[in-house]
């Protein structure tokens, strides 16, 4: 626990690696596809054969630019690639093609939502395009097996400034970035498939009574889930503080500089990592096999025009224009198409509130079951609009609408046709309801007596009778109407 006498400010920066969802790899036209048989998407280039020459994938550059522009970055007019040399079996060329001094995108920011409803700007230092490595499989105790299907897949590395000061801010930034890259359609950002990996660097600025200290900056590599990121940051804040308490003079950035730690998923915390002394000697130099890239104003504007409304702006608009709560607006802006569906239904004349209720009720439940976005469950904006209007006009009640909604996921029929086919349209024929009321009253003298007697049992008995009538209507009568007619019948 942190002593209240010390003022402790965690200072956290985050590097995020995002695999881009191009069809092919960055420098060859092998498929960029997860889950294929090992070493099937490989060619002389991506297995590092001498004499093979890389050709830059235009789409990868454009996807990277798109992210950069959405992050308010400056896109470089001139950019080039560099070789980062290190030896590891999943890197067949013994160097990674990356960007060193002239990255494609620089100096942007991402607004992240805070709990109190406000937003905070997290600055982005740079976003550069590099290639992913293959996969080492360590299953066998005697050797390592290497699959190079992933080698050369385009990877965008997004580096933040150390602008985050709490676990909440780190998670807000990571989740906002996750939502953004999916929103832009440049990455599936599937965490299970390793499409997004995190590398936080964390230290503490501590002011105690007499002085200010900074703990060593700890970098943790290759975190591939939100949970691992959250645990790492929370643990490091506590760990660094207790280490500093134990040794305020020795445990400082001046004495120890930067350190690396690993993350142990079983322990749920970071662990000490022994390092080779030459581990960071990457000997960058310009990649001579790739032409440099110049970005014209025209090209940049073309990419920029593909970026529509971004999640944060849309969420704010839903709260303002549609009077949705933060939580509702947030849930409807997890992905881009769900909001487009809502907007289209509203444009077709439906009330936003009704549509949102349908989408966040059954829509969200079905999407959860199917592990997809609400927009992907098979209901169209037109169907949604019609169902919302029927609800609004009292042609169908909420229970029946939920049933119709479920049917819509597998049907191209109109909500009205489905409601008719399943006898779910609201019964507005008063005479019919009166008949059901009479039946219910005749069949339940005890409940009728309880209602008439008043007292404790009255409300329950009245509810019971309402239920009986609703059942007779198979949910198609309006409950308010049933209650009105019941009261009339039992009134005196």
């Amino acid at each position: 626990m942190i002593d209240t006498k010390d003022s402790v400010l965690p200072v956290i920066g985050l590097e995020i690696h995002v695999e881009l969802a191009t069809e092919t790899k960055m420098f060859c036209r092998c498929r960029n596809r997860f889950g294929d048989q090992p070493n099937t998407n490989v060619c002389p280039l991506c297995i590092g054969m001498p004499g093979s020459l890389p050709v830059m994938n235009r789409k990868a550059v454009e996807y990277a630019m798109k992210v950069g522009l959405a992050l308010n970055c400056t896109v470089a007019e001139f950019t080039k690639w560099d070789r980062k040399s290190y030896y590891y079996p999943d890197l067949p060329k013994n160097y990674q093609i990356s960007q060193y001094d002239l990255p494609l995108c620089e100096h942007g920011f991402l607004d992240i939502p805070l709990k109190d409803g406000s937003t905070k700007k997290i600055r982005v230092l740079r976003a550069h395009l590099e290639e992913d490595a293959g996969k080492n499989v360590h299953d066998n105790p005697s050797h390592t097996a290497v699959d190079l299907n992933r080698a050369g897949v385009p990877l965008l590395e997004i580096v933040s400034e150390p602008d985050m000061h709490s676990v909440e801010e780190v998670m807000g930034y990571a989740r906002s970035m996750h939502r953004l890259v999916r929103w832009l359609g440049v990455s599936e950002a599937n965490m299970q498939m390793g499409h997004m990996r995190f590398e936080p660097n964390i230290n503490l600025h501590i002011s105690s009574s007499s002085r200010t200290c900074k703990t060593p900056i700890v970098e943790v590599k290759n975190l591939n889930s939100f949970r691992a990121l959250e645990r790492t940051v929370a643990y490091e804040i506590e760990r660094q503080y207790s280490q500093w308490r134990a040794d305020p003079d020795g445990y400082s950035i001046d004495k120890l500089g930067k350190q690396n730690r690993g993350y142990d998923d079983d322990l749920g915390r970071t662990v000490f990592q022994r390092e080779k002394e030459e581990a960071h000697d990457y000997r960058y130099f310009p990649e001579p096999d790739l032409a440099a890239v110049t970005v014209s104003q025209e090209w940049r504007d073309g990419i920029s025009s593909q970026i529509g409304e971004l999640p944060l702006a849309r969420r704010a608009r839903y709260m303002k224009d549609y009077a949705l709560s933060f939580k509702e607006a947030d849930a409807l802006t997890l992905d881009c198409p769900t909001g487009e569906m809502l907007d289209a239904a509203v444009a077709a004349g439906a009330k936003a509130r009704r549509c949102a209720n349908l989408l966040l009720g059954r829509g969200s439940a079905i999407a959860n079951e199917r592990r997809c976005a609400i927009a992907e469950i098979g209901v169209t904006a037109g169907q949604l609009a019609e169902l919302a209007k029927m609800l609004d006009d009292g042609q169908i009640n909420a229970t029946a609408a939920a049933k119709v909604f479920d049917e819509l996921t597998d049907s191209d029929d109109s909500p009205r046709a489905i409601a008719e086919a399943h006898c779910l349209l609201a019964v507005t024929d008063t005479g019919q309801i009166v008949a059901w009321v009479d039946e219910a009253v005749a069949a339940n003298p005890r409940a009728v007596q309880d209602v008439k007697a008043g007292g404790k049992k009255q409300a329950r008995a009245f509810g019971f009778l309402t239920g009986q009538v609703m059942q007779k209507s198979r949910g198609a009568a309006k409950p308010e109407e049933v209650q009105r007619l019941l009261r009339q019948k039992l009134g005196d």
Binding site: T22, E23, T24, C28, R29, C30, R31, Q37, P38, N39, T40, N41, V42, C43, P44, I47, M49, V55, M56, N57, R58, K59, A60, V61, F78, K80, S85, Y86, Y87, Y88, P89, L102, N136, V137, H138, N140, P141, S142, H143, T144, A145, V146, D147, L148, K221, N222, G262, Q273, K276, E278, A279, D281, R283, P286, P288, L290, A291, A292, V293, T294
Partner: protein
């Protein structure tokens, strides 16, 4: 004046490149690399003020391929030159942890 390439530096570079060097080779490379750097010293004498730094050796720009898959090698072809294979994988000596 260029950095000198002493024996220790040559050994370090050898280690980074994963090659074993004999004492005789260390001495030889130290001399050879040293003379290359001396030549760079000579180049340094040129007045380059007012000359833009060169970020790339050619003037060619914007060479791109379209994002359309081509056929890859078969797994057997891909593994044909590997000293050892483990099923569909390249087989290499055991590596521990992430050495990056």
């Amino acid at each position: 004046m260029a950095e000198t390439i002493d024996a220790e530096k040559v050994r370090h570079i050898g280690k980074l490149a994963r090659i074993e060097l004999s004492d005789r080779e260390v001495e030889m490379f130290s001399r050879q690399l040293g003379s290359i750097l001396e030549y760079f010293d000579k180049l340094q004498e040129l007045d380059t003020s007012g000359v833009q730094p060169m970020a790339h050796p050619t003037d060619i720009r914007n060479i791109f391929g379209d994002d359309v898959p081509h056929e890859s090698l078969s797994t057997d072809e891909a593994l044909a030159n590997a000293p050892q294979r483990d099923g569909d994988f390249f087989k290499v000596p055991k590596v521990i942890g992430e050495g990056r």
